[in-house]
């Protein structure tokens, strides 16, 4: 595989499914669902997510989904919203972020609303998004990063088959301003294909 010269011309499915989830790009009108879930989950998000430092107004959430839709088209950030198939409930957020199209490589981020924790939705989403990254977007590498104290997040990366590559010491500050350590989990395309049982020819 080679670097992607013009990611704007790359056809990327903006909606796909896993067993229990519809996973899709943000659209105008999604702000209300996102806002409700963020408000419900703020206590859980605050220690880990810099953007979760205040209760967002509805308009702020709507503005952010519209900006997200534009950044999707520009291929600057591929934010993905998770909806439960059975009832359409907004489950949480994920996406392919901080891309380097010259590799191509991506970082997957995720969070789940408080009332739906512990039901495996995040792992299910991460596996499906990993498939899209390697199969549809021809990623060479996908990364997951988290605070070393965020055990639940680290467990998702491991369950999805990512390998712990590094622990970065004092490489950032948490939302309280304290120094933190960061785990880097990685998966290469070769590793992904082996997991999937695809025969590799050199």
């Amino acid at each position: 595989m080679v670097a992607i010269k013009n990611p704007m011309l790359l056809e990327i499915p903006d909606s796909f499914q896993s067993e229990r989830l519809i996973i899709r790009a943000p659209r105008a009108g999604d702000g209300a669902a996102v806002n409700e879930a963020v408000r419900e989950s703020l206590d859980n998000l605050r220690p880990w997510m810099p953007w979760a430092d205040h209760e967002p107004e509805l308009e702020e959430s709507e503005e952010s989904v519209r900006r997200g839709a534009a950044r999707w088209i520009l291929r600057e950030d591929l934010w993905l919203l998770l909806f439960r198939k059975s009832d359409g409930l907004y489950v949480g957020g994920s996406g392919l972020h901080r891309m380097d199209w010259s590799v191509p490589s991506f970082e997957i981020g995720y969070w789940v609303r408080k009332s739906l924790e512990g039901q495996g939705y995040v792992t299910e989403a991460v596996k499906a998004i990993t498939d899209i990254a390697f199969m549809a977007v021809s990623a060479e590498r996908v990364e997951i990063r988290c605070d070393t104290r965020n055990e639940r997040s680290a467990a998702v990366a491991k369950r999805a088959g990512y390998m712990l590559e590094a622990t970065l010491h004092h490489d950032g500050r948490d939302p309280n301003g304290d120094l933190r350590d960061t785990y880097i989990f990685g998966m290469t395309q070769r590793q992904y294909l082996i997991h999937k049982g695809v025969e590799i020819t050199e």
Binding site: L9, A28, E62, E63, R67, A70, I73, L74
Partner: protein
């Protein structure tokens, strides 16, 4: 408070119709038909419009990229390009856009071009009237502008016919599209009261 503080939160329809035209925001996939229209028209565009895509014909892939970029700018409310599609057969016949928004007023500028094979049938006038209505009634514009090279008689005629007032001839304020000489620019404008007066009493060409 006047003006629009958060234009990204405006709910704006992405398409509307006039008598003979479907006027709509660009979408992924429009590049091919647009590029064909540009290829046919580049000899006209080159005279009057300085943008790189009017000076040298793009490849279809470059046009497709620019269509996608403009659909993102639409969402961000930074620039509104519209494709003009003939209702009778769906043909792409040109573009009309709302550019350079100043949301503190709000004010926007109308731009337009028509493919060479359908010139002279009044499509541009029809599109400008539709886009101008969209600007005043949907975007709540207070003022609209049309600017053109002072030698571009056909473009100036469109502005006059649409009821815009010539406010100024800006002498030597720009270079010709090919950059070889200085040119004058005609600045036409319409304000909100004028628009609604025209609407009630019929457009008076200026």
């Amino acid at each position: 408070m006047v003006g629009v503080a958060k234009p990204i939160l405006l709910d704006i329809p992405e398409s509307f119709e006039t008598e003979r035209l479907l006027i709509r925001a660009p979408r992924a996939g429009d590049g091919a038909v647009m590029n064909a229209a540009m290829a046919e028209t580049i000899h006209n565009l080159r005279h009057w419009l300085p943008m790189p895509w009017c000076q040298n014909l793009q490849t279809p892939a470059e046009t497709e990229e620019s269509v996608r970029r403009s659909s993102a700018l639409w969402i961000l409310r930074e620039d509104f390009r519209f494709g003009l599609f003939r209702k009778s057969d769906g043909a792409y016949i040109g573009a009309c856009g709302l550019h350079r928004p100043d949301w503190s007023i709000p004010q926007l500028e109308i731009g337009y071009w028509i493919r060479a094979s359908v010139e002279g049938q009044g499509y541009v006038g029809e599109a400008v009237a539709g886009v101008n209505q969209f600007a005043f009634e949907t975007l709540k514009a207070e003022r609209m502008e049309i600017r053109c090279d002072s030698r571009n008689d056909r473009s100036a005629a469109v502005a006059r016919k649409a009821g815009f007032t010539l406010e100024a001839t800006l002498r030597h304020n720009d270079t010709t599209a090919d950059g070889s000489a200085l040119r004058d620019t005609l600045l036409f404008a319409m304000i909100k009261d004028q628009y609604f007066y025209h609407k009630e009493h019929g457009v008076k060409a200026t």
